[in-house]
């Protein structure tokens, strides 16, 4: 934008020929007069001032929206997805395990399975409600698979149970179909996909909430530049050093820019902490826990297969390695002693569990099947796998809760940091507009 310092004409050259061009010339020549320029400046300041206010406010509002999404949408949905994934894994391990011990399933195992299904269904309902209907109805989408196949799974498990109660080997066949075809084949991959999608959207919201405030700073600087130019012009053309209105407007613009910057950089810091101290650790601990649950299911299924379970044992080794890798990752990502302690205790229990697993395999491979089963499922067996596994699960759950709390606290703090910013920005924008206009109006009056 260039503003000519030339004091051009008060001369009025009328062109009486064409009315159209005459009008244009009239306006352009008016614009060349000092009052014309002053009026133009006032108009420009109003537009730029208000636009700067609106753009800053929109920027802040978008950030605030991203934080709201983190706190109220993607955050909770990632919890729901993780709940679905881990509960289904646990349900599968529990239901298969109930067939191992022989005789009636222990009441607490049945209860655990029922609670898993109840919790998974409830979390699934939340996830479904939060998504567009098209996400749920699209063939092959994780939510479509989960909502269509979970009832099939539970139906098969109940059929298995009914046959088992009559002493028919048909029950195991139904359980096998439920577990390997529906759960492992469809539900768990869908739950995994859903979980990964939600983790990605948490990360995307964090990116949005923690982005550098380019727009806010840019419009703030442009506004300041226009204000400075206006004051230079006013000073040169009116012999007054300061114009109170413009100075007030400039102050308001500076305060607005500072306010937005300070608030935003505070938020950026909190969002980054919500990732480092929160979601990144939740994610690895959740992965460790889910791998552990699936390894446990494999341990059980190896015994159910009774001699032809080499594939499950191989899968156990894979899940075990994934679990250990996730624990290593949790160790290196840990930002406080609480989480480090969780990882240490988890590893202690993993060690006991893996020793017990070695004992189970040894007993089974040497033909002592009854002892292998006892070691696997009996909570009273001294070198059994059940107690260390349950402890491991408990420790990891505690760690997940702990890091998730850190995430929520940080997101809450970030959201608090933006409180009132929009109102302040809008008020200051009004001050900029009103102040500048009033300041220039004062000068303009002198030309009357």
């Amino acid at each position: 934008m260039t503003i000519t310092s030339q004091r051009t004409g008060t001369g009025q050259q009328r062109d009486s020929g064409q009315p159209g061009t005459g009008m244009v010339n009239q306006v352009t020549s008016l614009a060349r007069t000092t009052p014309g320029v002053l009026s133009g400046l006032a108009l420009l300041l109003i537009v730029v001032g208000l636009a700067a206010g609106v753009f800053s406010a929109v920027g802040v509002q978008r950030r605030s929206q991203a934080l709201d999404d983190l706190a109220a949408r993607s955050g909770p949905l990632s919890v729901a997805a993780q709940e679905i994934y881990s509960r289904l894994s646990d349900a599968d391990a529990t239901a298969s395990g109930a067939f191992l011990s022989g005789g009636l399933e222990p009441a607490q195992d049945r209860l655990r399975y029922e609670n898993d299904i109840a919790q998974a269904s409830s979390a699934l309902a939340i996830a479904v409600a939060a998504h567009d209907p098209t996400d749920v109805t699209r063939d092959g989408s994780p939510l479509a698979t989960l909502s269509r196949q979970l009832p099939v799974y539970t139906g098969l498990v109940e059929t298995a149970r009914a046959n088992n109660r009559q002493g028919l080997p048909l029950g195991v066949a139904y359980q096998r179909e439920a577990s390997s075809s529906v759960m492992t084949g469809q539900l768990l991959p869908a739950a995994k996909q859903l979980y990964e999608d939600e983790v990605t959207s948490v990360s995307a919201d964090q990116d949005r909430a923690g982005s550098f405030p380019v727009l806010e700073i840019l419009v703030g600087l442009i506004l300041l530049a226009v204000l400075v130019v206006a004051q230079v012009y006013v000073r040169r053309h009116t012999n007054r050093v300061f114009n109170v209105g413009l100075v007030a407007g400039t102050l308001a613009a500076v305060v607005s820019l500072l306010w937005v910057s300070v608030a935003t950089f505070g938020v950026i810091g909190d969002v980054s902490a919500s990732r480092d101290e929160g979601s990144a650790q939740v994610d690895v601990l959740a992965k460790a826990r889910i791998s552990a649950l699936q390894a446990r299911a494999d341990e059980t299924l190896t015994l159910v297969a009774r001699g032809s379970g080499a594939q499950y044992e191989k899968d156990f080794a894979t899940k075990r390695d994934e679990m250990n890798a996730a624990l290593d990752s949790a160790q290196s990502k840990a930002t406080d002693s609480g989480v480090r302690d969780v990882v240490t205790r988890a590893r202690d229990n993993v060690k006991v569990w893996l020793d017990a697993h070695g004992g189970i395999r040894k007993a089974d491979d040497s033909g002592d099947y009854a002892n292998a089963v006892k070691l696997a499922v009996d909570p009273t067996a001294t070198t059994g796998a059940r107690v260390p596994f349950d402890k491991l699960d408990q420790v990891l759950r505690g760690g997940i809760d702990q890091t998730r709390k850190a995430f929520n606290d940080r997101v809450g703090a970030a959201n608090g940091g933006l409180g009132g910013t929009v109102v302040v920005v809008v008020l200051l924008a009004v001050i900029v507009a009103v102040g500048s206009t009033a300041g220039i109006w004062q000068r303009l009056k002198e030309y009357r």
Binding site: G102, T137, S308, A370
Partner: protein, 324 residues
């Protein structure tokens, strides 16, 4: 509250300024049809390979029993591996009701085949419990024998020329015949009426290749374990199961809405399978089969497990054939 209002106002302003408009549309509820769950590994068995060797001399003949039969604990040197382990490792079924199945109440594998296997453990070690039962699927039987994972397979295994080239068989210890199992309300009276219909059998079983050969051209469907066939029949995914009468009788006992129909589709003589090149063990096993038939063990086991499933009185045990 104020902040909200301002925010809403600004958001509206922003939307107007940037010229966006909220997408609107109606959601149609798509028609969704159920996807049947299938037992793991179940699939249409297109192009079932037929046995490479269809005919051979002396199919049912095995090696003559050791004479005299050694007492428990005094096995020939060639069986030292089994003796040193202290356990006989037997490949069995845990899915076939009353032949080799896992009793849900006790968790134990038991049945007619298991009694036969225990008789061999008894003869080797003097203890029917000196045994490790490993559940194997039909298609794992020969590979597990050849790799030495099991000493012997006692699992409703029909003696065929093709298999005889890969493993050794004992003398026949049970004579089954292939038949067809359908739902009682199906109106099907035999394999002839199953042209174009889906008929189930386990992978690598003789039953599966017979289904594929049948002139009425049923569609063979293969599964891992026999009970998977009953699951698929109950879930309306197959129209019939065709295999040995003794296996089918176990299924019919688990589902009163099914029945065996039609004539015999061919004999299925069961033998115990052993890795090739263990002649002493093979002769020993044949000796044990003779003993079990002679001492009434065979008849008792038949009465206990199969008497209630297969109509008629307890038959005579099969007559062994030897050729060396």
């Amino acid at each position: 509250m104020n902040r909200r209002l301002v925010a809403v106002g600004l958001a509206l302003a922003a939307v107007t300024l940037t010229g966006c408009s909220a997408g609107s549309g109606t959601t149609t509820i798509p028609a969704v049809s159920a996807v049947d769950p299938k037992p793991a590994g179940a699939q249409d068995a297109a192009g079932v390979s037929q046995p490479a060797v269809q005919n051979c001399d002396g199919l049912l003949a095995s090696k003559r029993p050791l004479s005299p039969m050694p007492k428990p604990g005094a096995m020939p040197a060639s069986m030292a591996g089994i003796v040193a382990r202290g356990k006989l490792v037997v490949g069995v079924d845990q899915n076939t009701f009353n032949v080799g199945f896992r009793d849900p109440f006790t968790g134990e594998i038991q049945g007619f085949d298991i009694d036969m296997a225990r008789a061999i453990a008894q003869a080797v070690f003097g203890d029917p419990n000196a045994i490790q039962l490993r559940a194997v699927t039909s298609d794992q039987r020969i590979p597990m024998l050849q790799s030495g994972d099991v000493d012997i397979v006692v699992r409703t295994m029909s003696i065929t020329c093709d298999r005889k080239q890969q493993v050794d068989f004992s003398a026949v210890y049970y004579e089954a015949t292939q038949r067809v199992l359908v739902k009682k309300n199906s109106g099907v009276a035999g394999m002839d009426q199953l042209g174009g219909k889906r008929v189930c059998a386990t992978k690598s079983s003789t039953s599966l290749s017979k289904i594929a050969q049948f002139s009425a051209k049923p569609i063979p469907v293969q599964v891992a374990d026999w009970t998977d066939c009953l699951v698929m029949l109950q879930q309306n995914q197959v129209d019939a199961v065709s295999t040995d009468d003794v296996i089918l009788a176990g299924m019919a006992a688990q589902d009163k809405y099914t029945q065996l129909v039609g004539p015999s589709l061919g004999a299925e003589p069961y033998g115990m399978a052993i890795k090739q090149g263990n002649e002493d063990f093979l002769r020993f096993v044949n000796g044990v089969i003779e003993q079990v038939k002679a001492n009434g063990g065979w008849a008792n086991s038949y009465t206990k497990w199969l008497g209630g499933l297969i109509p008629g009185t307890t038959p005579n045990p099969p007559v062994p054939q030897y050729n060396g």
